[in-house]
């Protein structure tokens, strides 16, 4: 895996040679800013459905092993 990743990075390094002075970054091709919805409450996913696919449900919550 390490060799593969080094090989891929070797090809990617081609972008290091480009002259990018004064070129701004593109994060997104659609010119959208602050898309907001009306501040109106609406129903969310019911809890039993949200928990339906979980392997371990504890007290109506997702169960996980201890954290330490």
């Amino acid at each position: 895996m390490q060799q593969e990743l080094s090989g891929i990075l070797g090809h990617i390094d081609a972008i290091l040679a480009l002259d990018l002075d004064g070129i701004p970054p593109t994060t997104h091709v659609v010119d959208l800013r602050n898309v907001l919805r009306a501040d109106v409450p609406r129903q969310s996913l019911p809890r039993d459905e949200a928990l339906r696919e979980a392997a371990n449900v504890v007290d109506d919550c997702f169960g996980v092993p201890r954290m330490d």
């Binding site: 990743l5 990075l9 091709v29 696919e53």
Partner: protein, 479 residues
């Protein structure tokens, strides 16, 4: 000619004329889906499809796509139908909601027969990265169908379904469509809601149609586009998607991207594409060479940006809220064993590449620079489209390659998308249509257009298709 030989448009007409029923159509296609000679399907919803067909047949008024079967890429969530995105991480996962684009097609009467095979989390160009076995190319069972929407492409070529949905991040609709001899289209970024599409690289992912004709692709697209409150990047669609009827290219200026016709493109592919361009000229188009030098950096740019976005998107997969966590004594160990065991090698490779590109100290060098190269690519396309109406290139530099040929060399696999990636980075619409054969295998012609010029793109592709008269039936497929 059997029911499976009808295009989707012909099936709509046959249903409207009372010559067949939805149930008959569903049964005819289900038999091929269940036989699945090319392993195109991961899940089949036979009972659900039959029930829907009966319900639609009983309706007094038929919705526009009433009763026409469809296959859905396994990256799209379908309520109660197992959706894995080709990964063991989601083995047995049944979504609690349906993707907006699928819901819109179902509302229009389409009937989902099942979920199609794909590279794990849409990362790959051959469908060999699926955790559930590879799909075969109907044109040659020893070759790949392309990817990542390989199951969607093979199922349409094999006439298991008249059309299907795929998703395209760097070429995952167009490249398999080209390798399987069918039509595949990636619309303008934002045209179709991504709600319910399992995310790979969110600034690039788009859903789109695969079909045997351009008109079918247009019909499917028409029922999916438009704003969805559940995806803030989805856009209000200006006007309608027209089902194309153009028979010439009078007044159309088509630019041939020089950088995508040179080194690395197989001679047979170049010949077929050049011959299609002469056909375009015969239809009245003016063909001019166009240079887009930054497209040569497209592949490198993509393999920084897409892994960076995927490393963030795939952080959600831990087996806790869905999927299957592996046993461990504490939470961190559980994350590690679950993700370590259930992600395949290509997914791990990309998560690591992306994490590296975003790491403090490397961010400016890789992610920051790649975003700026993306700007150059966007600008070059915009400058080109000030001069021409469409851009043309091969869809894939090669025809379908043998199974196993590139699995040991990730970069060789990445090169399969060298012609499709630049358009994706610019967020533009593009279509691949079959334009001929090389060594008996299909070659795809890629046409790209400015954002929102889908109707122009579809009209030109339709006019060309009419003269190219490519026979989409794979030679081995029984009549």
């Amino acid at each position: 000619m059997g029911l499976r030989d009808l295009t989707a448009t012909e099936q709509v007409a046959a249903l409207a004329a009372g010559e067949t029923s939805s149930l008959e159509l569903v049964e005819a296609h289900l038999s091929a889906v269940e036989a699945d000679d090319v392993h195109a399907f991961l899940a089949i919803d036979a009972d659900g499809a039959r029930a829907r067909a009966r319900a639609i047949d009983a309706l007094p008024e038929r919705p526009p796509l009433a009763g026409v079967p469809i296959g859905i890429k396994d990256a799209l969530s379908t309520r109660d139908i197992v959706t894995t995105s080709g990964s063991r991480m989601l083995e047995g996962y049944r979504p609690v909601y349906t993707a907006t684009c699928v819901q819109r097609l179902e509302d229009a009467g389409a009937i989902v027969l099942g979920k199609t095979n794909m590279d794990e989390f849409a990362m790959g160009s051959s469908t060999e990265n699926s955790a559930y076995g590879n799909t075969l190319n109907p044109w040659d069972l020893d070759r790949v169908p392309g990817g990542s929407s390989g199951g969607s492409a093979a199922s349409v070529a094999q006439r298991q379904v008249p059309w299907s949905l795929g998703s395209d991040t760097g070429g995952s609709i167009r490249q398999p469509a080209a390798l399987c001899g069918i039509v595949g289209m990636k619309p303008t970024y934002g045209a179709i809601s991504r709600y319910g599409l399992i995310a790979f690289a969110s600034s690039l992912d788009q859903v789109g149609p695969l079909a045997r004709t351009v008109a079918d692709a247009a019909l499917l697209l028409r029922h999916m586009v438009g704003r969805d409150p559940m995806d803030s990047t989805s856009l209000d669609w200006p006007g309608d998607i027209d089902v194309p009827s153009a028979t010439d290219l009078q007044g159309m200026r088509v630019g041939v991207v020089e950088e995508l016709m040179g080194e690395g493109v197989e001679p047979g592919v170049r010949l077929a594409v050049e011959s299609a361009l002469r056909v375009a000229e015969g239809l009245g188009a003016t063909i001019v060479p166009v240079s887009l030098p930054s497209t040569l950096s497209g592949l490198a740019t993509y393999y920084v940006l897409a892994p960076a976005e995927c490393s963030s998107n795939l952080a959600r997969f831990d087996g806790i809220r869905y999927g299957h966590p592996l046993p461990a004594d504490n939470l961190l160990d559980q994350y590690e064993v679950t993700r370590g065991d259930l992600f395949g090698p290509e997914v791990k490779r990309r998560i690591m590449l992306g994490t590296f590109a975003l790491a403090s100290g490397y961010y400016d060098q890789y992610y920051g620079r790649a975003q700026r190269v993306r700007t150059l690519i966007v600008r070059e396309f915009a400058e080109a489209f000030a001069e021409v109406d469409l851009l043309a290139s091969p869809t894939s530099p090669t025809v379908a390659f043998p199974l196993g040929d590139r699995t040991a060399d990730p970069y060789a696999m990445y090169l399969a998308d060298v012609c499709t990636i630049p358009v994706s980075l610019a967020g533009l619409p593009a279509i691949s249509i079959p334009c001929g054969l090389s060594d008996g295998l299909p070659v795809g012609l890629q046409l790209a257009a400015p954002a929102f010029a889908e109707n122009r793109l579809l009209a030109a592709a339709h006019a060309l298709e009419g003269v190219l008269e490519f026979d989409t039936r794979p030679p081995g497929l029984a009549t």
